[in-house]
Amino acid sequence: MKYSYINPRKKSIFTPELQLLLTFFSVAFFMLIATYMFLVFKDYRFVKDKSDILKERTDLNSSIFTMNKKIAFIEKESMLAEKIYTKNAVLKDSISNLFDLVPQRITLSQASLLKNGLILYGITPNKDIYNFMLQAPLRSIFQKSYSSFYPAKNGWLRFVSTNYMGESDVRVNDADSPEELIGEN
């Protein structure tokens, strides 16, 4: 019987070639999975970022809408205030012009300023002075002008001058109503 004098070589399934192969593929798989994980993470971040951007856009949209509403309202306030200030200034000029119109020899006892008319009560030394010095300028301003006279105690004449513009009668209510000033919008 023959015996071997060397010890038996341990045989392993993991030969150096297989180890090399497994190492190579392990590194390759690791890199592939790392890339995959990166892509999955980026996909998750994309969904999150997209939803954040959408939310931010909605917030900005609503903020812009609110601000635009405020801007429109301030512009409306400013326009209305300007109209009112102009109206008051025009009113002041109208009253000033009216009193400048009355000559010194004629004395007014009452004046009613209407939107499109004017009623004056007063006293005049005679009709000529009234006609030349008050009636003439009133006629140039108003489309219709009526005067009536009645004698005063001192020999002068009391007069009532009714003047108005346009076809309609004198309107007591003004046309620059708040509805018109504020407008439709």
């Binding site: 030969t15 070639e17 297989l18 192969l21 593929f25 390759a28 798989f29 592939l32 890339t35 995959y36 892509l39 999955v40 980026k42 996909d43 994309f46 970022d49 997209k50 951007i53 856009r57 900005l60 903020s63 812009i64 601000m67 635009n68 405020k70 801007i71 309202f73 301030i74 306030e77 400013s78 209305l80 205030a81 009112i84 200030y85 109206k87 008051n88 200034a89 009113l91 002041k92 009253i95 000033s96 009193f99 007014l108 006892s109 009452q110 004046a111 009613s112 300023l113 209407l114 939107k115 007591v172 209510n173 003004d174 620059d176 708040p178 000033l181 504020i182 407008g183 439709e184 919008n185």
Partner: protein, 176 residues
Amino acid sequence: MKINISRPNIYLLIVATILLVCVLLFSFLVLIPNGKKYREQRIELARASQELRKYEDFNNQTLSKLKKLQSKNRYIISAFSAIFNPDRFEKENSVFFESLKLSKLELLMQKNDFDVYEVNTTSKINSPKSFYNFLDSINKSDWIISVNFPINFKREKDMIRSSFTMKVYSTHKKNL
């Protein structure tokens, strides 16, 4: 010619082929579609971010416009929201009149976010100049007020009795 490949090498070759197929399958079926999707998403995100920046710019522009308007019209805004105080009005304008009386403030109308209140006024002045000064000062008052027709002036000895209607405009609905 006979190729002599040992059995372990054949196993090694089979394992290597299987692993290579797995790598290729994973790459082509999973990684490449995901990579394409990532590239598309990156472009989409960049576009959305650009759009968002435009919105932010527009928002900033609108905000600066609003601030500018608010600072330019600060006086008008506060005048519209101010609560009309008849006593204070009488006190502030008493310099123009010998006497000034206001009737009770009444709500005339509500339209387009504005309330309009009406107040009748009777006063005594010693010259029309006082009334002009009053009309000048009313545009600088703490409220938005318009003086309306009809306006009556009646001589009473050395004084002039005037009566007119004022309209107070307000955005303050409940507090007036």
